[in-house]
Amino acid sequence: MISGSRGSKQWLLTLPSLAWLGVFFVIPSILVVLTAFRPADLHGGVGAGWTMATIHELRDPAYLPILWRTVWLSGVTTLVCLVLAVPMTFQMARVGPRMRQWLLLLVIIPFLSNFLIRIFAWKSLLHPEGPLTRLLVWLHFISEDAMLLNNVGAVLLVLIYTQLPFAILPLYAAAEKFDFALLDAARDLGAGPWRSFSKVFVPGVRRGLVSAAVMVFVCSVGQYVIPQMVGGASDEMLGNKIAQRVFSDRNLPHASALAGGLMLAVLVPMLVVSIWQRFGRKEAS
């Protein structure tokens, strides 16, 4: 048990951040869910009383393709990011400390560069008059009138681009702790490079792999700026609908209902992972 003075000291140190997050994170999240059951007023606010009408509106079949697109775009983004990040972090953990610091810096700089600017950069790269289009036309990979911008491929590409550091950083943290002598042992026992990579290294960084996957999926699922800026009219994700309901329709309850759905899409995979990890830990000990 905690003694009196120690207990009060603990509370004193914990209270500031706990109270801040309670007021500005927990309460707002609950409010969003509650707002979904309130009627909208005409000024973009929330009316009096309670209603189930908004929840019924969500059964609009127009939402299904958007939901599906949100899920598959996030899924494919997660997969591609992992496939690129695992060998990259494997390499980062093998090179010398100086090179390693440089590689880490090279990942962090684009990651910390302004998000809008990175999307803008892709917009100018993929522009019909832009350098990439010209290069590909010159190489005869695409025809003169091909459009690289405003389609679902562009959305996917920029999603991967912006989410890749979210996969690399947690995987690097795991790969750094990996004992590379295990690979030598596997080789000595006759495993080839691919076998020792896939059967020894990949299971060895399992935890990093899981947190990278959760991180990328969760961050992709909530995107709306990328489809808005490099996608076409039919490439919207759930986030676009939420933003439209807030800013164009000024219907906060409807936006909140959609946000509640998105919250579920985020919390369910996290819950599954945390249960899996707790279970896995018990198994290991």
Partner: protein
């Protein structure tokens, strides 16, 4: 032992992929061509135009005010939180830890809309204050994680040694713990600062009239084709400052 060249190739590819768009931006900022399709000669024209664009500098000033004050608040709250998380093991800290990590995995749009709902329902006018609150909220978790990482390397017997040598508890904290913790706190603060300067989505939800931060300004510039080359120039300056901040922060974290 023979090493496969595939991982190195992928690493090279990823680094090129990450940097190609940034390189194109920087190159275009010096390109006389308006659309940047072809190189039409070196120019500083876009930088001169940017220099004369008063509204951009006004936005930068607003952004800096928010970023400095929000990261300072997040540094204080985050350091206390990290210390509590490291020092105590209890149900309270389990709850605390969950609360600190949840915002890290919450999509921006959800944080934006929840804070907007809070401000709408409590009748708080959106503006500078609401942006500041939002920024402190999402920076807090990041600062806590960085400082916590630092604390895990901290040798707490140093405190006992200071106490044995006659230091009071307050003196030991002030003369031993804080100086050794400072690089971690500063690195966390720098991260918070960059995140705050960068944020578009959450800010967009909780901003009001007259609080156009730099990312909001960039977004509105992107809608008018006349100002597109100016964005290239602005981006180059921002990427350069990110580079400086990132190098600074990695130096701070390495210094043991």
């Amino acid at each position: 032992m023979k090493r496969s060249w595939i991982p190195s190739l992928i690493t090279l590819g990823v680094v090129l992929f990450l940097f190609a768009p940034l390189v194109v931006l920087v190159a275009n900022s010096f390109n006389a061509s308006r659309f940047g399709g072809e190189w039409e000669g070196f120019t500083l024209n876009w930088y001169e135009k940017l220099w004369a664009a008063g509204e951009v500098w006004e936005s930068l000033w607003i952004t800096l005010k928010i970023a400095v004050s929000a990261s300072l608040a997040a540094m204080v709250l985050g350091t206390l939180a990290a210390y509590a998380l490291h020092r105590f093991r209890s149900w309270l800290q389990n709850v605390h830890h969950t609360l600190i990590t949840l915002p890290l995995v919450m999509p921006d749009i959800l944080m934006g809309i929840s804070l907007l709902a809070l401000f709408v329902l409590t009748g708080i006018e959106t503006g500078l204050l609401t942006i500041w609150i939002a920024h402190v909220t999402f920076c807090l978790s990041f600062v806590t994680m960085v400082v916590l990482g630092r604390l895990q390397d901290f040798d707490f017997t140093l405190i006992d040694a200071a106490r044995d040598l006659g230091a009071t508890r307050a003196m030991a904290v002030k003369k031993v713990l804080l100086p050794l913790l400072l690089p971690g706190v500063l690195a966390g603060g720098l991260l918070a600062f960059t995140l705050s300067i960068d944020d578009y989505v959450i800010t967009f939800f909780v901003s009001g009239p007259g609080t156009t931060t730099l990312p909001l300004r960039v977004a509105s510039m992107m809608r008018t084709s006349r100002s597109l080359p100016m964005i290239n120039a602005l981006s180059t300056l921002l990427i350069a400052s990110t580079f400086v901040l990132a190098v600074l922060s990695s130096r701070l974290q390495r210094r043991a």
